[in-house]
């Protein structure tokens, strides 16, 4: 990848073949598109079936699978350098931290820990054993 010299050298030695030595083909793109359509149909039908507490995990698993296909194949993350992968992976870690701790906070609030006038979290979600009635749904 080093073409250091100024002009004067024959051009065929100059243009660098980048990280993609293998010939590229459009077939993976069509394959990913078919998979994405399939997963869209899957999320449509499982979503319409209203599977109760399974609905959200199923929907998110399908969405993550679709995203992985788009990121790896369409966005070429599969063939990218480690640096770009690190950037993408790091952003996902921070999304996970943000979501996890925020939801964990909201999910574990109980009445004595909620300040007066808080928009929600006052009349539900008691930790087990503190009050006898169950939280609604």
């Amino acid at each position: 990848m080093s073409e250091s010299g100024p002009s004067g050298r024959p051009s065929q030695t100059l243009h660098p073949h980048r990280h993609d030595e293998h010939p590229h083909s459009a077939v993976p793109y069509y394959a990913v598109w078919i998979a994405l359509v399939f997963f869209t149909a899957l999320t449509y039908f499982t979503g319409k079936a209203h599977l109760g507490s399974w609905a959200l995990p199923i929907a998110l698993t399908i969405a993550c699978t679709k995203s992985a296909l788009v990121a790896l194949i369409f966005m070429h993350l599969k063939d990218s350098s480690g640096t770009t992968r690190l950037v993408f992976g790091t952003s996902l870690v921070f999304v996970g931290l943000l979501l996890f701790f925020t939801v964990a906070d909201v999910a574990t609030r109980f009445t004595p820990a909620t300040p007066a006038g808080a928009p929600f979290g006052t009349e539900r979600s008691q930790p087990e054993g503190l009050l006898e009635h169950e939280m609604p749904e």
């Binding site: 243009h15 459009a26 449509y44 998110l60 788009v70 979501l99 939801v103």
Partner: protein
């Protein structure tokens, strides 16, 4: 810039501060991915707000979701997925020294983007008519439970910000289409086109999560 001519590049592609095109390409890609990371975190803030309020008002979210136009959302999902394919193909054709095919793919992508916005506009019009609007403007007759206005606040914020990204993406892709028609991209250099494509795929990625979370509760 005989330096660029030797490489078979159009003038103005290789910055003089880069020792090689490979390094410039890598720097451009890294910069774009850093920008995309900030975009992901921007949307993550809204998704977190969504998670909190859905946790708090599960019944209201369920009911409101079932009043959205599911067919419109599903068709829009397929439209965006297909537009992602055409962008990927545009890059593929540019790399194969077929700028005309690449331009056709970009025009198709822009057409899909317009179709997406058109369908979204029809949905928004319906929301304005039935007054399923954010915050204090909420006066939807069919769902009158606490949290319903919050669902529509989040719905408009998330789809609105996403729609804004569609418009920006269309502007970027139009610019890149112009550059493609000028013959700027070929097997030696197509990074500009590739970065525009990355932005478009991100728009698709966000919608992949918005679709089940808004339409299919």
């Amino acid at each position: 810039m005989s330096h660029e001519a030797d490489l078979g590049l159009a003038p103005g592609i290789l910055g003089h501060h880069f020792s090689s095109l490979a390094r410039q390409n890598e720097a451009m890609r890294l910069g774009m991915w850093l920008f995309l990371a900030t975009e992901i975190l921007l949307f993550a803030g809204l998704f977190t707000g969504y998670a909190v309020y859905r946790f708090e008002f599960p019944e209201a979210f369920k009911e409101c979701s079932r009043h959205l136009e599911l067919t419109a959302g599903t068709v829009n999902t397929l439209v965006l997925i297909t537009s992602s394919l055409t962008v990927a193909l545009a890059i593929h054709y540019a790399r194969s020294n077929r700028p005309k095919a690449a331009a056709v793919c970009l025009v198709l992508t822009l057409a899909f983007a317009l179709a997406f916005l058109g369908i979204k506009a029809i949905e928004y019009t319906a929301h304005f008519h039935e007054k399923s609007l954010p915050g204090k403007y909420y006066a939807f007759e069919e769902v009158k439970v606490p949290g319903a206005a919050m669902f529509f606040s989040l719905y408009f914020l998330m789809t609105g910000l996403h729609g804004l990204h569609v418009v920006v993406g269309m502007s970027v892709l139009s610019w890149i289409l112009w550059r493609t028609l000028q013959g700027r991209y070929n097997e030696r250099y197509y990074t500009g086109l590739e970065l525009g494509g990355l932005y478009w795929h991100l728009v698709d990625l966000v919608w992949i999560f918005l679709y089940p979370l808004l339409y299919l509760i």
